[in-house]
């Protein structure tokens, strides 16, 4: 397992446990949890809260004959086979690979930076980003929340270093210029629940075009 220094905030893990995040954020959480047993244990704790909520839920009476119908149905239910776990590879954990296998189109967004949109529905979007070593991400601020999970290489955001498994959470107030470390290409999974605002002229023109 990877040594993670920058973890997901509680609100996002709780949202994932509760099942209320947009799909693109779910993808970042599922990928992050695949890389960190600490995150998996924290998620388990938030799911235990859900267990308590359901245990204390006001019971709603089941329809009459419900149990009988259920019992009659049991014999017809095939035993679910233990799924052969879908394995990730050295860079991309399984939940992410699952999305990538449905077609990945890399587009150049300038300065050697490439991105590929992952198809998700709902109010957020997800994309993979590849930044050459030593290169800066295009300067951008945000509306809403942006999550950036590192899969390979590392980047600096201010004086904080983000490496494989780390998540950078940027909010409305954040104006930042993440800079990939010299050396290996930095690959990240990013999700945002509002379009990014780029400040340079070219990226701004490209933005509606590339859906970022």
């Amino acid at each position: 397992m990877t040594m993670i220094r920058h973890h997901l905030p509680d609100a996002l893990l709780m949202g994932y446990a509760a099942g209320t995040l947009p799909e693109a954020f779910n993808l970042v959480v599922a990928t992050h949890v695949s890389l960190s047993d600490e995150a998996r244990a924290r998620l388990g704790a938030f799911e235990a809260v859900g267990g308590s909520v359901i245990d204390d839920a006001d019971a709603a009476e089941m329809a009459s004959g419900s149990l009988d119908r259920m019992m009659a149905r049991l014999d017809m239910l095939p035993q679910a086979n233990a799924r052969a776990p879908l394995a990730g590879d050295a860079i991309y954990p399984a939940p992410l690979l699952d999305y990538m296998t449905r077609g990945l189109k890399w587009q150049s967004v300038g300065r050697g930076v490439k991105q590929a949109i992952l198809k998700t529905d709902g109010a957020a979007s997800a994309r993979l980003i590849r930044i050459p070593g030593g290169q800066a991400m295009p300067d951008h601020g945000h509306k809403g929340t942006e999550l950036t999970l590192v899969l390979q290489g590392a980047f600096m955001d201010g004086n904080r270093r983000y490496a494989r498994g780390d998540v950078d959470v940027a909010t409305e107030e954040t104006e930042h210029t993440p800079m990939a470390e010299a050396g290996v290409e930095c690959i990240c999974l990013a999700a945002s629940d509002a379009p990014l605002k780029f400040h340079g002229l070219l990226p701004r023109l490209a933005q509606p075009f590339f859906k970022i």
Binding site: A17, N26, T31, A48, G51, A57, L67
Partner: protein, 181 residues
């Protein structure tokens, strides 16, 4: 004499379903959990008919996936909650839900009894701590799980006492990794 719910060993019943397709054990689980799942789904915005149907499906999934239940990592209520949550996403939002990579099972087919017992006790303590939270805070947490709050509306500091149960699950994961290597 009726047995108080707190004294029922739910995990043992799921293991009976897993090992013997024990229908009587399943019926006990159904009577306890199905109405709660239905209540949970109705609080989440499902109508009576849909909630009834989904609660049945959740219990069917419990029957079919009993072999995937790990009592060292989750209580039965927690496991049922995750099944109900996924069913709700499927039914109400018709959305896909990416799941974390599965952890393969270690070579030991039997979960560690002591670890399972400790997890159940920690879960019970968590439930009691939740019940003792100030009413306003507890209501907010419930609303988050019923799907009434977006992640940006969830407080950054939840004030939930999750350290103990998190450490317990972490230990179970470490054991699993140890067996795998």
């Amino acid at each position: 004499m009726a047995i108080g719910d707190e004294e029922v060993d739910w995990a043992a019943l799921v293991l009976r379903v897993r090992d013997h397709q024990d229908r009587a054990a399943f019926a006990v689980l159904f009577r306890h959990f199905a109405p709660r799942v239905k209540g949970f789904l109705m609080k989440s915005g499902a109508g009576d008919t849909l909630a009834e149907e989904c609660a049945q499906d959740v219990m069917a999934t419990l029957w079919q996936k009993a072999h995937l239940f790990d009592p060292t990592r989750a209580s039965v209520a927690t496991w049922v909650f995750t099944i109900a949550r996924n069913r709700r996403i499927d039914a109400l939002r018709k959305a896909r839900r990416p799941e974390p990579e599965d952890l393969p099972w270690g070579p030991e087919p039997e979960p560690d009894q002591d670890a399972a017992m400790a997890l159940q006790e920690d879960t019970m303590r968590l439930g009691k701590a939740l019940a003792q939270l100030p009413e306003k805070q507890r209501a907010l947490i419930e609303r988050a799980y019923y799907g009434d709050l977006s992640h940006s509306e969830i407080a950054e500091e939840t004030g939930l006492p999750l350290g103990t149960i998190k450490s317990r699950i972490r230990l179970a994961l470490d054991r699993l990794r140890h067996h795998m290597s």
